[in-house]
């Protein structure tokens, strides 16, 4: 099993930036990784730390491990570089004043802060800076405001958040190296372009995995239109024991997310089987009738031809194997994340699922699942389908100022869950049986 504890060379990892931005990078030994305005770092300086470790870029791409991205910044050692430092102070003061008076166009309340800051002497700013260094100035000013003045009231919470966030982005040169698990990959893609994940949230992914009862050793049938993020999540939970048959609608399945999973191609090939819809619908037609050559015939072949023969033989075997596997059915779950209309494919999939095993269908839209549930209501092979919606609401946890975050992503998706059962023609309902 791959190392999930220690930051290891040649792994793809998630780099979290103070801006809440994320990057996926490969840690090549000796490499240097650029983080844009946040600076750059040398790969060798992070290897061996625990995943989750945060660092601060000090100078010349040098790193200092820190407790967390939001740890209070320690005094800078640049006090020797007097001119620059003084210049910095001026710049910071200017920037603060400008930032705050700009804000005041949109938020009258912040006028208070603006004028307060304008009244700060250079010494005071220096003190503020010393007591917490640049990146903490904002926090400290706000702290002072809160303590001393009721004008800094809740009206400015939006501004505070915006302000603090902006400060962190501007002044912090920090990052965290996180293990790139399925949750992190989901977060990364959501941040880049949530439509690629059909807007699926982390909580909905969790529900999907749990209701699908994904576990080591299972045999699953999957449609994954997210480029493999769901597949990755399943492989994590399966510990790469068992099989996933991935249904795709093109010539080849797209599971590009696995490129960053640190799983070897061999492992993926042995656990993940691909099949397209045509192969599911017309299995006998789509099987490859591979004509074997005899030992003698093969010996007569030239080497390149022979290796081509073996390659084709393997491919034929692979295709036939997965087609037969689906023909056999008895999958431990069917899981679907696609923009295809479920009512058009479910009739072909339901027979493939084993008794008492779950069928879970994700959609961005409740209306799609509504239609699907109605479609299934006359199909006695799916017991008690329901539509679930899970939403997580995060809080700000600054003690003394605890409240739910003001805004969050609206989308997250819905899942329909049902259980595959074997109806009996003969049964006679009594009362309402369902």
């Amino acid at each position: 099993m791959k190392d999930r504890s220690t930051i290891t060379e040649n792994h793809y990892v998630l780099v979290r930036l103070p801006s809440a931005g994320m990057k996926v990078v490969e840690l090549r030994k000796g490499g240097n990784i650029a983080l844009g305005k946040f600076g750059a770092f040398n790969v060798d300086d992070v290897l061996g730390y625990t995943y989750g470790q945060s660092f601060e870029i000090i100078d010349n791409d040098k790193l200092r491990p820190i407790k967390s991205l939001s740890e209070e910044v320690e005094m800078k050692e640049e006090s020797s570089e007097d001119v620059e430092a003084e210049g910095d102070e001026e710049i910071i003061k200017d920037r603060l004043i400008k930032m705050l008076s700009n804000s005041s166009e949109n938020n009258q309340n912040i006028i208070n802060i603006g004028s307060k800051i304008q009244k700060l002497t250079n010494e005071e700013i220096d003190e503020l800076k010393k007591s917490g260094a640049t990146s903490n100035i904002g926090q400290l000013i706000i702290q002072k405001m809160i303590e001393g003045h009721e004008g800094f009231d809740k009206k400015t919470i939006f501004s505070q958040q915006k302000y603090l966030k902006r400060k962190q982005e501007k002044f912090l040169r920090r990052f965290t190296i996180d293990y790139l698990g399925s949750s992190q990959m989901l977060q990364y893609y959501l941040e880049k372009d949530s439509s690629k994940l059909l807007d699926m949230s982390e909580e909905t992914l969790g529900s999907l995995m749990t209701y699908s009862n994904v576990k080591p050793g299972g045999k699953y049938l999957l449609i994954d239109e997210t480029g493999g993020v769901i597949l990755y999540s399943m492989l994590e939970r399966m510990n790469c024991e068992g099989t996933v048959v991935l249904i795709h609608e093109n010539e080849h399945a797209n599971y590009s997310a696995l490129k960053h999973s640190n799983l070897s191609d061999d492992l993926i090939r042995s656990k993940v089987k691909m099949i397209n819809w045509l192969q599911i619908l017309e299995p006998e037609n789509e099987k490859i009738d591979f004509q074997s050559f005899s030992e003698a015939e093969l010996n007569e072949m030239k080497a390149p031809k022979r290796s081509q023969y073996y390659r084709r033989q393997k491919r034929a075997n692979d295709i036939n194997e997965v087609i037969e596997m689906v023909q056999q059915g008895n999958f431990d779950a069917f899981i679907s994340i696609t923009t295809l209309d479920p009512t058009t494919y479910l009739p072909f999939v339901i027979p493939k699922v084993g008794g008492s095993r779950p069928i879970t269908v994700y959609s961005q839209f409740k209306e799609t699942l509504l239609q699907t549930q109605h479609f299934l209501s006359s199909d006695k092979r799916i017991l008690a389908p329901s539509i679930f919606e899970t939403r997580v609401r995060p809080y700000q946890t600054i003690p003394g100022r605890i409240h739910p975050l003001m805004t969050m992503r609206g989308y997250g998706g819905y899942i329909m869950v049902g259980t595959r059962v074997f109806p009996k023609e003969s049964v006679q309902a009594v009362g309402r049986g369902m």
Partner: protein, 358 residues
Amino acid sequence: MSFFSYKDVIEEGDLVLAFISRTDTKPITVTKGQILNTRFGHFKHEDMVGLKYGEQMEGAKGYGFIHLLHPTPELWTLSLPHRTQIVYTHDSAYIMQRLNVISGTRVIEAGTGSASFTHSFARTVGAAGRVFTYEFHEPRYIEAKKELEEHGLTTNTLITHRDVCEGGFEIANIPANFVSKNGGIDADMVFLDLPSPWTAITQLDSVMSKTSKVGVCCFSPCIEQVQKTVEALQEHGWINIELVEVSGRRWEARKDMIRDMGDVVKRLKDIQSRRGKGIETRKRGYLANGKRQLEEETDDSDSGVNKLPNTGKGFNPFGRGERVKEGDANYTWRNVTKVESEIKTHTSYLTFAIRLPC
């Protein structure tokens, strides 16, 4: 134009809310010689005179348009020029209903803030009711006062520059038409949008109704404020203390393409047959009896969806890949609702309580 009643035709000097898009409404006072510039063209104020409220107006150059809307407190809230944090309509509507703010109610509001909720109160209590609103912050007070006057709301709304936590709510020289028949402010309902409502709660006794139940709503973003507020309310004889959160969602009707698995299969077959023809001559030795012939291996790349020509209606299921216009009649669609991409998950906690006369 008035927030108290609708008028039909726009006159010079009227406040008009120019609806440019769902997220962009501009308040303008119709003034000869002035021009409203938008990204959809420009619009001469003088051309608005004589048009009806609600009318769609063409740009001065013959293209683009806006809608000329009559102000309401809620539209005004959305079009506030310099927007501070406001009490959103989901919250304000519930507060009004729950505390039974109706025509004739006497309301205390502190602080005034952007005066957006003040507008709602003034509209709802009408000529028979009164609104006493207090603002601590001077520039905000001055701006709100000006706005209330311009909007004709000072007939039932009195704004006072005051830190109520220090100075309380009593007003020395209440204008005669603001004095209750029971004397003084005599409020039925109190709305406290202050950082420390617990300091204001102690000051309310002398300005509340002595003859009827009084309702209060404290509007606080943090739970710690709520905790202190609940304690203060209990200590000062308020009952039925209840904390709630209001969540509001806005949904849009949209269309989502219905992609049929049958089309996928047709397409896969089409690929196979086209490919099959191309490689027929190259194939030897591995042919099978009636079954699919082995395809040429292609690069097993992860590059994903292959781009293929659209072969007609219902046959190309790649809605996302090809930027099909939503609702395009060449495809079938499902009606779906979509929530805003960013939703408001929290505005403030609302702490309600009532007090009976002692």
